[in-house]
Amino acid sequence: MNYELFTQLLVNGLIVGTLYGVVAMCFVLIYKSTQVVNFAQGEFLLIGAWVCWAFLVEYQLPFWIGFPLTLVFMLAFGVLLQVVVLRPMIGEPIISVIMLTIGLSITFQALMNWMFGVFAKPFPQVFETETITLFGLNIQTAYIMSLVISVVIMIGFYYFFKYSKMGLAMRATAFDQQVAQSLGISVKSVFAMAWAISAMVSAIAGVVVGMVNGVSQALATIGIKVFPAVILGGLDSIVGAIVGGITIGVLENMAEFADSQWLHVGNLYTIAPFYVLIIILMIKPYGLFGTKDIERI
């Protein structure tokens, strides 16, 4: 057994996993507060990364202007999407809502491919990237940066929902919409906020991935990797999303390790999370931390 490769892949898994955790958190945020399953989560990353890329490369803006502008754009985009497209769907059956987000997903993906091309384009160098050696492992500083940003986002989410007025309003809405409304919370603005925050944070994740791997269509696949993560953690649990994300990230890399060392089937890296997904759905459909649906007749 190759221990060096093992630890390297384990560390990779943890780093990618926290990133999945962040995206899964955005997904759960939307699901929890608006009961919409967002199949277009990966496209948020894609749009965020491409918009930031356009600001930095096409318009030659410095990073400290271009990045906040991207966030402002994503905020407007999220609110607009919720108001124009998703508000008419409130109260529609679940298949309509799912299909709507799938429709959004293919529309945006095709639009981005058309505007920016299908090939990966490198992100302009924002931070110095070098390879440092930590406990005998070679780690790129870009990866460490991605890990730090992910953890900062997670802590930010924690404080937002624990202490800020908007965060508390969102939690109240998720708990019971009617009671929240009668206490003077504007459910409409909470819905719009949920989409805006989710789009913004996804864009940050997109930019981070873009800095490491370059911006390309492949970013959107993270939106699909999110499903195993959220199902494992439970669809409406923020903690579950983080745990699920890290687990799937590690599992993916362990599958890669097992594949390269013993199995030699190839492509296990991309397909293993989906086998896990089906197994979880069979034995524990509401995930580790999710709440079970109880229906009355």
Partner: protein
Amino acid sequence: MAGHNQMKCGQFRTTYQQDNTIFPTPLARGVAIGSVIFLLFAPLFAGPYFLNLSIQIGYYAIAALGLNILVGFTGQISLGHSAFFGFGAFASAWINNTTGIPVFFAIPLAGFMTLAVGMIVGIPAGRIKGLYLAIATLASQFILEDFFSRAEWFTGGIYGAMANPVSIFGYTFDSDQSFFYIVLFWLVVSYVLGANLMRTRDGRAFVAVRDHYLSAEIMGINLTKYRVMSFGVSSFFAGIGGALFGHYLGFVSAEGFTILLSIQFLAMIIIGGLGSVMGSLMGCIFMVLLPELMEFGSSGLKEIFPALDHGMTYLKEMSIGIAIILFLIFEPDGLAHRWKMTKSYWKLYPFSY
């Protein structure tokens, strides 16, 4: 249903048999039979372009009907329909290539093989529903896609599989004109089967599961049985459609059956109308003609906007998404409902009440 109170003057239904016919009125039956007879003569005067389009509509419509039975009638969401479509294509080619059974008989056999696979994939459906099922079928789409590129004994791996043209008793259907009849035959058989299924006990059980699964279970409907069965029936039609697709193209490659095709199937039934047999066909016609119409419409604009030329593939993809979104927001009941409204409008014209 809405159709009942807008029946034509002079038509009365006095027995349950009369209320449960396949076609609501003798006129509708006449039109259906008439259009089939018309299509029988169509290859004699239709050009190759029209034939190609109608064959495409034919095999996609069979698969879309299967998906509508699953999604529209049983209320189970599936994001993995194109994997079954692809499985049917590979299975038919494989049966024909390895055992030498004529393609004509290999097509229904492939349908039954796909039925078995669909029931295996449908097993999780016994336990989960709604959104969770959608995600499970999404996973099975990826797993089956991976299987296609891996199983070389079955699919030829990355190289794909050759599919012989349809032949029986020494006669080969290798031209578009003759293949049109094969597709037409299966289309009519499938739609008659599909429409009839909804008149049986099983069909009504599907609808009961969709409308309220707990009440259905209390009434004595075995939920697991009907959910898995619905997956089986749906896969059977997908398999038939896929087999026709494979033998029409003559070559089956694993790349063709992606999630995008699954979404296109879903778009067909949503645009046509969930829970409507004829809606599947209407939605399918819409989805096949949409890119053609866009190509046609943009040919004039190309001189003015040269960017349209290389953006056409993306525009077509976008049009699928935009069509889904617009239909869901403005006409969630689909084209079938719109057609019904148009008919009742003219029936009552000029007094719309």
